[in-house]
Structure formats: C-alpha cells, structure tokens
C-alpha cells in the first residue's frame, strides 16, 4: 500500500483530479494484439485498441464478446497469452494486479464489486488505502458527487440499491485518483433513468476533471450516447473502431453487432 503514486500525487484535494496527465487526445492506455484464453476457449484474439486521455472510450459487444476478459487482462487478473498493455508509455502487461491502482488505473469489475460486509464509508476508505492518509475533504467531495450514498455512509453496503452500489464503486475508484477508469457494464440491471444519471456524471468528470474512461457495455445505445469513441468487439476480435457518432449512425453495424 505504499507504492509510489507517481505524478498523480501532486493534485491535492480533488478526488478525480489527477495532475501530470497526458494531453487530451493522446493515447493513454494502449492495448496491442492482446490474446487471452480460458483453457481451450480463446476469449480475446489479438485485440488492439487505445483509450485516449480525457475521453470516454466505449467497448461494445454482445454477451460473451470478451469485454470482461479484456478489462481483466488489462488489469492483470487474467494473464494474456500474447500482446502488450501500456499505460502512458509504460509496459504494464505483467505488472501485479495490486500495483495497477498505484499506476493510475482503477478497474471497477462487473457486478459492481461492492464489499457487502463493509459500510459505505469503509468501502470508500478501501479505495484510498494504498495512498496512505487521505484528507477527509476528498471523501466529502465524493459524497457531494453522489449525495444518495452520503445519506447511507454508515450503513452496510449490502443495504444499497443497485444504482447506489454503482455510485459507491465509482466513488471508491475516484478516491484512488485514477488517470483512467475501467468500468465493466455499469448499466447492468439499472433503471434507464439511473443509467442516464451515472453516465451524465461520468461525462462531467471527464470534461471538467480530465478523467479518462474505458467503458465496457452491452447497452450500446446508452454507452454511445456518452462516449467519444466506440470499439465494437465480437467473439474476441475488434470489428470496428470509430467515433461514437459515426457508429451510432451506421444502421447496418448497429443491427449486426449492437442489437439496436
């Protein structure tokens, strides 16, 4: 938990405000030829993509396309058979999972990853553990962003609704002061209104704080409405990468891969 936190340590106070970041539009997280398998099942087959600084990059695809495996391989939970992952130029392909957050990458896993037995506040504190002592004002800031979990801060996290859980895990990731946030299907099982609210907040954080997001979604319509760039994944391969706007307009592609 004492990992050097690199350049992000210079920004004090702002939960999502990390300093020393790459200029907007330059590649922050680069994935090159990534191939992963579970035994004989090849889930990723030479995936290449890049997430730019200060942008939301959405990875879209049907159930089983390999989206979760992509994020898990990037953060080291799954070890790739081939390929490379670099973060701001540094090769992190073989870095230990525990070191990723210190390098500026926060991965919110599928199924929300709330620690049910801990309180809301304790969950947030876990997000900042690796940074050592953290100002209380950073927590207040997360509670300001998500007032609904502020009211529940001393409740056990298992009492939260699905939407509140998603807010909690995003808030927890923000306390890690990431340069890039990896989100695995945050919309899963949430009412459209809550999804819109959470995506709206993400957009705001990206625009005002310069956060970068790699968003994995089956819900392509909502994801494309908030994303800058879309990457369509099918059976472990990248089918197309384009501006979100263009993907939205491509009816054939939408019907074939995005289900709307």
């Amino acid at each position: 938990m004492t990992d050097a936190h690199g350049s992000t340590a210079v920004s004090a106070g702002a939960a999502a405000g990390a300093g020393g970041r790459a200029a907007p539009g330059t590649a922050l997280l680069e994935v090159d030829g990534l191939t992963s398998a579970y035994g004989p099942v090849r889930a990723l087959d030479g995936v290449t993509l890049s997430a730019e600084a200060g942008r939301i990059t959405a990875v879209l695809g049907a159930n089983g396309a390999g989206k979760t495996t992509l994020l898990r391989t990037i953060s080291g939970l799954v070890r790739p058979q081939a390929g490379r992952v670099t973060l701001d130029g540094e090769d992190i392909t073989r870095a230990p999972v525990e070191a990723m957050v210190g390098k500026g990458m926060a991965h919110v896993p599928e199924g929300r990853g709330v620690i049910a037995e801990l309180t809301v506040d304790e969950n947030l504190r876990v997000g900042s553990l690796f940074r050592g002592k953290v100002e209380r004002s950073e927590f207040d800031r997360v509670y300001d962003i998500f007032p609904r979990i502020a009211e529940r801060r001393d409740n056990a996290a298992h009492t939260l609704s699905g939407g509140e859980r998603q807010m909690l895990v995003i808030g927890r990731a923000l306390l890690a002061q990431p340069r890039i946030l990896l989100l695995d299907e945050p919309s899963l099982g949430l009412a459209p209104r809550i999804v819109a609210q959470i995506f709206g907040l993400l957009r705001k954080l990206v625009d005002s704080e310069g956060l970068s997001v790699l968003l994995v979604e089956q819900n392509a319509r909502s994801a494309l409405s908030v994303a800058d760039v879309g990457v369509v994944l099918n059976l472990g391969r990248v089918v197309v990468t384009d501006q979100a706007r263009s993907l939205m307009a491509d009816e054939g592609l939408r019907h074939a891969y995005l289900g709307f």
């Binding site: 525990e98 990853g113 620690i115 504190r125 876990v126």
Partner: protein, 294 residues
C-alpha cells in the same frame, strides 16, 4: 444457590476459552473459507514451547509472550507455505491439508516432548473467594482467563475497526478480488490473519493447560468444543463465536454440575447441542441473511 453460582462461574470461564478457540477458527474461515483443523495442535505446540521455557527457569509471563509470538509465526508460516498453494482450489484439498497438519504437528510434539503427562503452571491461585462460610469459585485464575481473553478480543476489535491494516484485512477477507484491484496486498493480509488467529488459538491452549496437564493430544476436546462453539455462532461471525463459546461453556457446566454422572456426558452433550441448533437454525445462531453476495 452457592452451587448454581459456582457452576455458572466455571461455565463462563471454560466458555471464554472455547470462545477464544472458536474465534481463531472463525477468523480463518471468514478470510480463507478454510476450517483450520490444525489449530489445536498448533496451539499445543506453543504450549510445549512455553513449558520448555518455564522449565528452563523463566517466568510464566516470558513463556506466555514467547509462546504467543511463536503462535503468530507458526500461523503465518503455515498460511504462506502450506495453505497458499491449495487456496482457491477444491475445498477438500484444504481440509485434507489442515487435517494432515493436525496429525503431523501432534506427532512432532510427541517425538520432541514425549507423550507423558506434564503439569503446566498457572500464574495465579485456584482458591475461590470466601464470604462467611460460602466459597465462591471466582478464582484469580478464572479472572485471569476471562480477563486475558477479553483483552485479546478488545485488541482485535480495535485492530479491525480503527486501523487501516484492519480495514485492509477485512476487505481482503470479504472481497479478495476487489481488494487486489484497489491495491491491497491481499496475500499479506491473509498471512497476517492466519498469524493473528493462531495467536488467539494459542492463548486458548495455554489457558486450558494452566493448572492442569499437557500431553500431545491435550487439546483434542477443546478442538471439539471450539468447533461446536464456532458453528453455533455461524462460523462467519466473531461475535457469534464468542457467544457460542459462552453458551456451550455454561451448558456443559450445568450438565456436569447437575445431571447425574453428567461429567461423563459432556462430550456427547456438546454434539447434541450442535445438532439441535443446526436443526433449528441451520446457519447457526448468528446466521446473517447477508452472507457474502459481493
């Protein structure tokens, strides 16, 4: 009345020891989902270390501290070297490993220390208070037993609730993957958890030995009682383990104190209590409906 008070006090004292042993089992179960069958012989090993130190002329307190430290080191090493390779594998593997370890350590004790009964000292007297012509069985030794278990429990509560390490340990126990993604060194926390659990187990072994005899298998009945207490409490709940231990201690004390030839029934009674509770409340007395869903 006097008998009732005395039987109750002795039940509470014994119960505290069961609680401590149960707590050791629960701490390990809830972080690694492993029932550490070796806890008993690990504790016995530390009691023999303490005895060797006392026999060498050192005070009980020196021996106690060294034994508890030895317990920590042993717990941490066992997790790191023996348990880590089977963690996350089929549950049966871990069961077989801890059972094997139980037998192996017990055999090792017999080889090194012999199988004979050796008396183990207690730092305080075992005479009760006398008020008028009634003697209350609240002995300095029972106060020491209750007090030391309470102190250890309070320290654990403080660690888990008020320190960053404690939070990291709980996060590692309840959400291993998430904790790793958030930079917590989960492996280290599990090692630490096993070490601390072994300290608590070791304390219970030293307390039950005090004023009696030790031999390689002297922990065997405490293992059964501690296990019953832990299951009574739901196996997942530290509070449950403590309450389970106290309930079991009291129940067994009443049975041996009031039932004809009751002391012969104690071991059987423990298992009957366990069966009845599991029939009525399969998850234990403290089963929470919130069992891990994260």
């Amino acid at each position: 009345m006097q008998q009732f008070v005395n039987v109750t006090l002795s039940g509470l004292t014994q119960g505290m020891i069961y609680s401590a042993f149960a707590l050791a089992l629960v701490l390990i179960w809830r972080s690694t989902r492993i029932v550490n069958f070796a806890q008993g012989s690990m504790a016995a090993a530390t009691a023999f270390i303490a005895l060797a130190i006392i026999n060498a002329g050192a005070s009980y307190w020196v021996a106690l501290v060294v034994a508890l430290i030895a317990g920590f080191v042993m717990g941490a090493l066992v997790e790191r070297i023996i348990i880590r390779p089977v963690e996350g594998g089929p549950e049966l593997n871990a069961v077989i490993v801890t059972l094997g370890l139980f037998v192996a350590i017990q055999a090792l004790i017999a080889i090194i220390a012999g199988s004979s009964f050796q008396s183990f000292p207690t730092p305080f007297g075992v005479r009760g208070f006398t008020i008028g012509d009634t003697t209350i069985a609240l002995t300095p030794t029972s106060l020491y037993v209750i007090g030391s278990v309470l102190v250890v429990m309070a320290l654990l509560v403080a660690l888990f609730r008020f320190t960053r390490t404690g939070l990291a340990m709980r996060a590692s126990a309840f959400g291993q993957e998430v904790a790793r993604l958030l930079g917590v060194r989960v492996g280290r926390m599990l090692t630490l958890g096993w070490g601390l659990a072994a300290v608590v187990g070791s304390l219970s072994g030293l307390l039950i030995a005090g004023g009696g005899f030790v031999y390689p298998a002297y922990m065997d009945s405490l293992i059964v009682f501690g296990f019953v207490a832990a299951v009574l409490g739901g196996l997942d709940s530290p509070i449950g383990a403590i309450v389970g231990g106290l309930i079991l201690g009291l129940a067994l004390s009443y049975i041996s104190g009031y039932v004809d030839r009751g002391s012969a029934l104690v071991n059987v009674s423990a298992l009957v209590i366990l069966m009845v509770v599991l029939l009525v409340r399969p998850g234990g007395l403290f089963a929470s409906s919130t069992a891990r869903r994260a």
